[in-house]
Structure formats: structure tokens, C-alpha cells
């Protein structure tokens, strides 16, 4: 088995980025989200080495950030494993199997850090079983074995119940067994829906459900973190700043993953590409509206234009790779640099230089590079490497999200209105009560 570096790095990068996001001063290190790799190294040093297990974050929001990502990525890995089963792509399946195994291990360590080792072990049992049953469902579907499919469905629903029971116990009743079960039931149902749609070549539905499943489990990560701490500590997850961080991390991470879907779908044919690309556009719309909430409609329009170039540049590159056109590939790569520079300029402008231009440009360059590496490796059927680029790229993107939100916070906060409103002067509301 490959060394378990990527998930550990993801957790460490997240924690480092959050630490940077928390900083009040606009220090250069916070600005260098690109330098998530560097920051991760520094953080690992504090933890006693880069080989430290997935962290046991002390603060609820750090735990939430880690669990959100682990749950979300695990979901995508499960979806992609199912696709490898349904398309009989053995080599890709092998890579997905390995990654799922590693993620389950790391996720369980993370849960154990929050809930205690014994609960981490129990969680791992439930999670491994759920992962295996989801795989069995896809295999039954691929084999056209209705009886096995029904059996796998029943097993997955039972897994949801087991998760609920586990969560109720682990959280000392802060979450009811029924609520926990309902959360995982939605998850396993989404996995099955995806598989059914993909097997029926209803790619529009398959990719839409995948996105919904990602978002559902991202939120489930927040809830799992919340359940692990006392209500007073959990309140830190409900602050506007923390909610904004979570929302942007979810959307920017989703962007990264949907681009990967579209890149890979380029090799699978037009129907699948179009379905994947539609979700990329849906994510862009959501991001644009999100930016609009912060910077207003005019700047949101500018964001969308810059982001569109970024997205098209990435997909132009993967098209050239899939078409084996080296000249087109070189041109696409060069254009990506120009698009990245323009997008960096835009982002630096909206945060009013809270983030210097150079680190943003570098961060976007790293983001592009991860996706370039990913599609290069995928095209060459080096699926392990493609997975590694995906995981590293996802962690880096979350670092960008956290740093960007930190800068936005410093930009937005001083501009908010202050104080209450003088919306009454007759005293009638007082004596009426």
C-alpha cells in the first residue's frame, strides 16, 4: 500500500490554513495560501513531525473543518469507486479502493481524537462496513444481480441505523439516534441514486446527485464536530465568520472536484462530459452569487467573467490532453497563466490589498498545477498519482478558501453598518405591552 501521506497532509494543511485565517494581522504567511504546503510543513513541525497522525484538533472549528473535508472527499471517492465498478475500470478501481481505505483510517483517527479512541474504533467499524456495502451495491448493479442489489440496499440502510446508534452514544445523547441515522440514510441513498443513474447512463442525474451528496456530507462533517463538544463550545461554529468560511470552503473545494470530474469525463464521451460540465457551471453560479453577497452585483459580474476564463482554461488544457495535441496543450497552459493573473488581480482588488497580489497569483498557479498534474496522470492511467494530485489540490484549495475568507473578513468588517436603528419615537409600543 502507498504511504498514507495525502490525507495527513490534508488535515495538516487545513489546520494550518485555519490558523492563518484566525490571525488578526494581515501577515504575509496568511496571505500565502499557496504556500499551504509550506505552512503545512511549519505546522507539522509544531506537531512534532510530518508523519503525525491526522490531528486531534483542539478547537471545534478546526475539528469541523477537518471533518467537513474528510466526509466530503470520502463521498466523492465512494462515487468514483462506484463509477470504476460500473465501467469495469479495474486499474482506477484499485486506486479508488486504496484511497478509500486510507481515508477511512484517517477519518477514524480524527473521530477518535475528538470522541476518544474507543469511539473512534466503533466509528471505524461502522464506516468500513458502510463503504464495503456501498461498493457491494455498485457491484450488484454492474452484474445485473437484483437480489444482491436488494441485499446491499438493506445493508446500507442498516448501516445508517448503526451510525445513528453510534453517534447517539458518542455524543452522550446530544444527537438522537434517529437524527444521526437520518443523516447517514440520506448519504447512502444518494450513493445508491448516483449509482442507479450512472448505470442507466442518466449522467445529468448522476452528476447532480454527486454534487448534492458532496454538499450533504460536508454539512454532516460540521454536525459531527458540533455533536462532539458542549453546546457552549459548539456555538463557535455558528458565528457568521465561521459560517462564511464553511460555505466558501465547501464551494471552492467543490469547484476543484467538479473540474476533476469534467476533466475525467472528457475521456468518457460527450454525454458524461456535458453532465459534469453542467455541474461545474452550477458551482460557478453559486460562487458568483456568494461573491455577490460580499462585494455586490457589479463586482460579482466581474468575478464571474474572470472565473469563467479560469474554468475554460482548465478544461481547454484537459481537452488538449485528451486529444493528444501537444501544441494545443502548450497554448492552453500558457493561457491559464494569463487567466490566473487576471483572477488574482481581481481577488486582490476586492480584498483591498489585504492579500498581496503575488501570493494570490502563486496560489492560483498551484491550483492550476494540481489540476494539470491530475489530468496528465489520469490520461496516462496513473490513477494513484491522479488521486494524490486530487487530494493535495483539494487541501490547497481549502487553504486558499480559508485565507480568502480571512482577508474578506478583514475587508468587510470595517465596512458594516454600526449600531441599532432609531425606528420608533412614539412610546406606544411600550405601553401597549
Amino acid at each position: 500500500m502507498r504511504p498514507r501521506t495525502a490525507p495527513v497532509a490534508l488535515a495538516v494543511v487545513l489546520l494550518a490554513a485555519l490558523a492563518a485565517c484566525d490571525s488578526k494581522a494581515p501577515e504575509p504567511s496568511a496571505a500565502s495560501a499557496p504556500s499551504t504546503t509550506q505552512a503545512a510543513g511549519e505546522h507539522a513541525g509544531h506537531q512534532g513531525g510530518a508523519t503525525a497522525p491526522a490531528a486531534s484538533p483542539a478547537k471545534p472549528k478546526e475539528l469541523a473543518a477537518a471533518l467537513e473535508q474528510y466526509f466530503a472527499v470520502h463521498t466523492l471517492l465512494a462515487v468514483r469507486q462506484a463509477r470504476s465498478v460500473l465501467t469495469a475500470n479495474g486499474a482506477y478501481r484499485e486506486a479508488a479502493d486504496h484511497e478509500l481505505e486510507e481515508y477511512t483510517e484517517e477519518l477514524s483517527e480524527l473521530v477518535g481524537g475528538a470522541y476518544g479512541d474507543a469511539q473512534g474504533t466503533r466509528f471505524k467499524e461502522v464506516w468500513e462496513r458502510t463503504t464495503a456495502d456501498a461498493s457491494s451495491y455498485a457491484q450488484a448493479l454492474a452484474a445485473g444481480d437484483d437480489a444482491a442489489k436488494a441485499k446491499a440496499r438493506q445493508a446500507l440502510l442498516a448501516d445508517a441505523g448503526a451510525y445513528g446508534t453510534w453517534l447517539a452514544g458518542a455524543s452522550d445523547g446530544r444527537v438522537g439516534a434517529g437524527d444521526g441515522a437520518a443523516q447517514l440514510k440520506t448519504h447512502v441513498q444518494q450513493l445508491m441514486d448516483h449509482d442507479d443513474a450512472f448505470a442507466a447512463k442518466d449522467y445529468d442525474r448522476a452528476y447532480r446527485v454527486e454534487r448534492e451528496a458532496y454538499e450533504h456530507m460536508f454539512a454532516a462533517g460540521t454536525e459531527l464536530a458540533r455533536a462532539g463538544v458542549a453546546p457552549k463550545a459548539a456555538a463557535s461554529l455558528d458565528t457568521p465568520v465561521e459560517k462564511l468560511r464553511t460555505a466558501f470552503a465547501m464551494l471552492l473545494g467543490e469547484h476543484m472536484q467538479l473540474i476533476i470530474d469534467a476533466q475525467r469525463a472528457t475521456f468518457a464521451g460527450a454525454p458524461e462530459f456535458n453532465a459534469a460540465a453542467a455541474q461545474v457551471n452550477a458551482n460557478t453560479d453559486a460562487l458568483t452569487k456568494g461573491m455577490g453577497a460580499i462585494v455586490g452585483p457589479k463586482k460579482a459580474e466581474e468575478f464571474q467573467a474572470a472565473w469563467a476564463e479560469h474554468v475554460e482554461g482548465l478544461l481547454d488544457y484537459s481537452t488538449a490532453v485528451a486529444g493528444h495535441d501537444d501544441a494545443e496543450r502548450a497554448v492552453a497552459r500558457e493561457k491559464m497563466r494569463g487567466y490566473g493573473a487576471r483572477l488574482a488581480l481581481y481577488l486582490s482588488d476586492i480584498v483591498r490589498n489585504e492579500l498581496p497580489l503575488e501570493p494570490i497569483t502563486k496560489a492560483l498557479g498551484e491550483h492550476d498545477q494540481h489540476l494539470v498534474d491530475q489530468v496528465d496522470a489520469y490520461a496516462a492511467k496513473r490513477f494513484d498519482e491522479a488521486q494524490e494530485s486530487e487530494v493535495e489540490g483539494y487541501g490547497q484549495m481549502l487553504g486558499v478558501a480559508n485565507t480568502l475568507v480571512g482577508a474578506l473578513q478583514r475587508t468587510v468588517k470595517p465596512q458594516l453598518p454600526v449600531g441599532g436603528s432609531q425606528t420608533g419615537g412614539g412610546s406606544t409600543a411600550t405601553w401597549r405591552r
Binding site: F273, G292, E301, H324, G420, G425, T428, A429
Partner: protein, 211 residues
């Protein structure tokens, strides 16, 4: 972590090999990995690249139309919306007419991600009860309908109604950006400071988009 540069160097030769395999419609490399043959691979890739070449990222973002009217059936509010800016002291302006509510137009448009903020007076010395006189009666689940300039409607459901001293106005909870489409209704409440001629508190309704 695998060094990125090393990975890229490794990739060149294999990529060339895969290209040949795909163009020939032959899956020798795949067979070595135990993959079943996929004879349509070249055609599939060609079809995928053709689709990818015609891809256009979404553009043409259109701002949501501004809100022009608010209705709150439970407390029989139906009011046109004036536009409110920021006063010199950085507070939000208040409506100039007691019977009309106002929308803070430097903030979110109702239905967009973020908290749209609508203010209305609770009463006036001259005319008594004003447009948001009964705001404090709103409870979880009550409906608020905002109509936009194009006639479209954003429907919100009340999450909670709370009262805060003006000295501890929850600025972040009301104005801080969020990606959840939300609505905040603000009026006055609490005890009345006769000397200043103002209430000491604000009543705030927190609502989220339902449709």
C-alpha cells in the same frame, strides 16, 4: 507527498503510450492492468473532446431585481419598500415615512445569498402605531413575502424574533455576509427613553428563504 516535478517527468512516456493505444482502439495497456477491452475508446474520447471544445463557462450574471414591496400576512403588513442608504454615523438610514418600510440597498437583495435587511418604524409620536408595530408578534414559521421590481417574489419563513439593547446591537448577525439567503427585519422595542425620544432596544426578526 510526491514531488510534483518528479511526477510530471514520469508522465510523458506513459501518456504517449496511452495516446497510441486510444487512437488504435486497442487496449493492450489496459489488458495488462486487467481492464476489459473498451473498443470504443477512441470514438468516446473524440466525442468527449468535441463536447469539451464547445464548452462555455457560465457568464452573463444578472443581478437580482431590487425589492419593492413587503407583505407579512400574520401581522397584516403590506408596504412598498423605500431604499435606504447609510447615514453619516455609519448607521443605516431609517424610513422617512412611518407607514412605509425600507430596504438597506447597500446590502443583499432579498433572495440572494446573504442577509437582506428591511427596517420599519414601530410607532411615531404623531400617528401612533407604524408599519412594524406588530413585528414582535412574529413567530417561527410565519411567512414574509418580498416582491421584486420584476414581479418575482421571495418567500421567507421566520426563524426567530429577538430583542436586543441598541447598545448591544448584533451587527454581525444582521449585516455580516452569509451565503444563506436570509432576511432581517428591524424595528424598535423595549423600554422608551422619554428624554431621548427613542426606544432603548431593537426588535429583530431573523428569517430564511423558503422559495
Amino acid at each position: 507527498m510526491t514531488p510534483i516535478g518528479g511526477r510530471r517527468r514520469l508522465g510523458g512516456g506513459l501518456a504517449g503510450l496511452v495516446a497510441l493505444v486510444l487512437v488504435a482502439g486497442c487496449s493492450a495497456a489496459s489488458a495488462e492492468r486487467g481492464d476489459p477491452p473498451r473498443p470504443a475508446a477512441a470514438a468516446t474520447t473524440a466525442s468527449g473532446t468535441a463536447a469539451a471544445r464547445s464548452f462555455h463557462s457560465t457568464r452573463g450574471y444578472r443581478a437580482t431585481p431590487v425589492p419593492v414591496r413587503i407583505e407579512i400576512p400574520r401581522i397584516k403588513v403590506a408596504s412598498p419598500l423605500d431604499r435606504l442608504g447609510r447615514a453619516a454615523d455609519r448607521t443605516v438610514e431609517v424610513p422617512v415615512r412611518w407607514e412605509r418600510a425600507g430596504w438597506y440597498d447597500e446590502g443583499t437583495r432579498p433572495g440572494d445569498p446573504g442577509s437582506a435587511v428591511i427596517l420599519g418604524h414601530v410607532d411615531s409620536r404623531e400617528d401612533g402605531p407604524a408599519v412594524f408595530f406588530r413585528l414582535r408578534e412574529l413567530r417561527r414559521g410565519d411567512e414574509i413575502v418580498v416582491t421584486r421590481a420584476d414581479g418575482s417574489k421571495a418567500r421567507f419563513a421566520v426563524d426567530r424574533t429577538e430583542q436586543f439593547p441598541k447598545s448591544r446591537f448584533p451587527t454581525d448577525a444582521v449585516y455580516y455576509p452569509t451565503l444563506t439567503p436570509a432576511l432581517r427585519l428591524v424595528t424598535c422595542g423595549g423600554s422608551f427613553d422619554a428624554t431621548a425620544g427613542h426606544y432603548r432596544s431593537n426588535v429583530i426578526v431573523f428569517a430564511t428563504l423558503r422559495a
